[in-house]
C-alpha cells in the first residue's frame, strides 16, 4: 500500500484553461508512487446540454471541452505514468472513451487502458411520477414534465474499482466532484468503506481541488487587499496526501498564484451549507474541527476532517426544458444618461405590458444597479440615481416558452434606436434555450454504478 499519493487538478470546470495541466504534469512527473491528474468539468447544466448533443448525434454527448482540455495532457501523462480521472464523459462516457482511444492512437499510444464508469443516468429507471415524488428542492417536477437529463451523483467506489482494474484513464459521467479525488485515494491507500474519518479527509481534499485554481489564487484576487502574483500563469493545485488522510495543498513551482491560509479557508467553505454535515455519496464530512497551517511558501497543511456514515440516499440533478431566455441591451452615456436610460426602461416596459401583459421583464442598469439587484427591481428603484456623466447600459431580460413574446422583447429594445430616448446605442440581443434544474434524493438501491474496461481492438 502506498504511503503518499500526489493528485493534481487540471480543471475546475469545462471552461477552464487548457494549459493548466502542463506544469502539474511536470511537477507530478518528478515524484514516485501513485500520481493522478483529475479534471472536473460537469456543472449542473453541462450534463443536460451534453444530453441534448447525444440526442442529436449518438456518438456525441461528451463534455464539449474534452478534446481541448485532455489533448495537451494525454501523451505526457501516459509517458510519465500519471493516471487521469475525469467526469468529462458527460452524457456519454463510453463515446468519450472511444474518442480518447482514437486520440491515443494518433499520439502513438494505441493501448491505453480506459475505464468507463456508468450508471448515473436514471431516466430509464424511474417514472415521471417517481421523479416528482423524490424531488427534494422545489416542485418543478410536480406536473411531470419531460425530463431532459436525470443523473445521480455516484461515489468514489466505482472510480477506485476502475483504477484497481488497471485503468490509465477513468472516464465518468456524473459523480460527486470530490469523488474524483477520493476514488484514487481509496484505491491507493485501501481505505475501508466505513473508515469515515479517512473518507472524510479524502472528500475534503477533493473539495479543495475540484474547483482547480480557486484554491491557488483564482476567484480570490482583490488588488491592494488580496494581491495574487501571476494571474496570467496561475498554478493549479496539487495535494500531497498521507495514509492517515492529512494532506498538504500546494502548486507547481514557478507558476503564478498563491496557496495560503486565506485561499484555503475561502475554498473550504465554498458551496458548503452546514459545515458539520457536508453530504456526499461516500461519507458525511464534518469540517468544523479542520485545522489549517501555513508550513512553507505556497504550502498549507490541512488536517482534522471528521466523517460520519454515508447517507442512505443519493442526490440526483434533474433537468427539464426551460423555454427561452430573451436578453437585449442598449447604452446611454454622458449628461443626463440616467434619466434617458430610465425613460428607455419605462418605454419598453409600457409597450410590452400592452403586447404581452403576462411576461415578467427584468431591467438592469449596468453601471448603477445590475448584478446586485433583484428581479422585481426593488433595489434599482431605491438606489440613489447616478448623476453627471454616467456610462450606463440598460439590459432587459425575460424568460418564456412563447417564442413570439421573446422575439417581441428583442424587437422593442432594438426599436429604441430610432423610437427611444436620445443617444441610445450599441444594441445587442440574444435568445438562449434554457434548461431548468432541480434535485431529487434517490434510494441507493435504485442506482447501480458499473465499471467496464474499453476493449483494446
Amino acid at each position: 500500500m502506498a504511503q503518499q499519493v500526489w493528485i493534481g487538478a487540471a480543471a475546475g470546470f469545462a471552461g477552464d484553461r487548457a494549459d493548466a495541466s502542463g506544469p502539474l504534469i511536470e511537477a507530478l512527473a518528478r515524484h514516485d508512487g501513485p500520481r493522478f491528474l483529475i479534471f472536473e468539468t460537469l456543472a449542473e447544466r453541462t450534463l443536460a446540454l451534453a444530453q441534448l448533443d447525444r440526442l442529436a448525434d449518438p456518438s456525441r454527448g461528451e463534455v464539449p471541452a474534452l478534446k481541448r482540455l485532455l489533448m495537451p495532457a494525454l501523451a505526457p501523462c501516459i509517458a510519465a505514468g500519471i493516471r487521469i480521472v475525469g467526469n468529462f464523459g458527460g452524457a456519454n462516457p463510453r463515446g468519450a472513451a472511444a474518442k480518447i482511444r482514437q486520440w491515443g492512437k494518433e499520439l502513438g499510444w494505441p493501448e491505453i487502458k480506459i475505464a468507463v464508469v456508468e450508471g448515473d443516468d436514471l431516466r430509464s429507471k424511474l417514472t415521471a411520477a417517481e421523479f416528482a415524488r423524490f424531488e427534494s428542492d422545489g416542485d418543478l417536477l410536480r406536473g411531470e414534465p419531460e425530463i431532459v437529463a436525470a443523473n445521480a451523483y455516484l461515489g468514489a467506489e466505482a472510480i477506485a474499482e476502475a483504477l484497481s482494474r488497471g485503468a490509465d484513464i477513468v472516464v465518468t459521467g456524473r459523480v460527486a466532484d470530490p469523488a474524483l479525488v477520493l476514488g484514487p485515494l481509496k484505491h491507493s491507500f485501501g481505505w475501508a468503506d466505513d473508515d469515515w474519518d479517512r473518507l472524510a479527509a479524502g472528500v475534503l481534499a477533493g473539495h479543495l481541488l475540484e474547483c482547480g485554481s480557486q484554491v491557488t489564487g483564482g476567484y480570490f484576487a482583490d488588488p491592494g487587499i488580496k494581491d495574487v502574483p501571476g494571474m496570467d500563469t496561475l498554478g493549479y493545485p496539487l495535494a500531497e496526501v498521507e495514509r492517515d488522510g492529512s494532506f498538504v495543498v500546494t502548486k507547481p513551482v514557478g507558476t503564478g498564484g498563491l496557496v495560503d491560509r486565506r485561499t484555503v479557508t475561502e475554498q473550504i467553505l465554498y458551496e458548503i451549507h452546514d459545515p458539520a454535515a457536508y453530504l456526499t455519496p461516500d461519507v458525511v464530512l464534518d469540517l468544523t474541527d479542520v485545522e489549517i497551517e501555513e508550513i512553507g511558501r505556497d504550502r498549507v497543511s490541512v488536517k482534522g476532517a471528521r466523517g460520519h456514515a454515508a447517507p442512505n440516499t443519493l442526490k440526483a440533478t434533474i433537468c427539464i426544458d426551460g423555454g427561452l431566455l430573451a436578453e437585449a441591451e442598449i447604452s446611454y452615456t454622458g449628461p443626463n444618461a440616467r434619466a434617458r436610460a430610465g425613460l428607455a426602461i419605462e418605454t419598453v416596459t409600457k409597450r410590452m405590458a400592452r403586447f404581452h401583459p403576462a411576461l415578467q421583464i427584468r431591467a438592469d442598469l449596468i453601471g448603477s444597479v445590475s448584478v446586485f439587484g433583484d428581479s422585481a427591481g426593488a433595489m434599482l428603484a431605491a438606489a440613489t440615481p447616478v448623476s453627471g456623466n454616467a456610462d450606463l447600459r440598460v439590459r432587459f431580460a425575460a424568460e418564456t416558452t412563447d417564442g413570439a413574446a421573446a422575439e417581441c422583447l428583442l424587437d422593442e429594445v432594438e426599436a429604441l434606436y430610432c423610437a427611444g430616448p436620445a443617444g441610445g446605442g450599441g444594441v445587442r440581443k440574444r435568445l438562449t434555450p434554457r434548461l431548468r434544474s432541480t434535485s431529487c434524493l434517490i434510494a441507493r438501491d435504485l442506482v447501480s454504478p458499473q465499471v467496464s474496461m474499453l476493449e483494446v481492438p
Binding site: 487587499i225 467553505l269 458551496e271 452546514d274 459545515p275 426551460g322 445590475s370 448584478v371 431605491a382 431548468r436
Partner: protein, 125 residues
C-alpha cells in the same frame, strides 16, 4: 457606535446550490472574530439582502478558521438556470455583503487601531 464597512474586517466568497446562496466570511485578523460573532448576525445579513427576501438565513460559526458561513435560502431568483439576472450564480453577492457597514461598539476591535473607514465606491450602499 462607529460603523465600519465589513470589507475592512473580512474577505468573502460566495457559492450556489440551486436557489440557495452561501457566503463564507473570513476575518482578515483573528481579533475581528469575536466582535463579528456578536454583530454579524443572521438578522444583519437578512437586512442587507432584504430586496431578495430570503426565506431563511442561517449562520454557522467556524472559530478555528476565523470564519462564518452564511446560508441564504431562495435568494437567487431560481438559481443559475432560472434567474433573469446576469449573475444567476450569485458570485458577485459576497461583495454586496462586504460593502455593508457594520456598527461596532468603540474598542470592540481590540487594542490595535480599528481600520479607518474609507468611502466605498459605487451605489447602492
Amino acid at each position: 457606535m462607529p460603523a465600519v464597512p465589513l470589507y475592512q474586517l473580512a474577505h468573502a466568497r460566495s457559492g450556489d446550490k440551486g436557489n440557495r446562496l452561501n457566503i463564507a466570511v473570513v476575518c482578515r485578523e483573528e481579533r475581528f472574530y469575536r466582535p463579528l460573532s456578536e454583530h454579524l448576525t443572521p438578522d444583519f445579513v437578512t437586512a442587507v439582502f432584504r430586496e431578495r427576501q430570503p426565506s431563511a438565513v442561517r449562520r454557522y460559526e467556524l472559530p478555528k478558521l476565523r470564519a462564518f458561513n452564511f446560508v441564504l435560502d431562495d435568494v437567487l431568483d431560481g438559481g443559475v438556470n432560472g434567474s433573469l439576472g446576469l449573475d444567476g450564480h450569485g458570485k458577485t453577492l459576497s461583495f454586496l455583503l462586504l460593502s455593508a457597514s457594520i456598527a461596532l461598539p468603540a474598542g470592540m476591535l481590540g487594542a490595535e487601531e480599528p481600520p479607518q473607514p474609507q468611502p466605498m465606491p459605487g451605489e447602492p450602499r
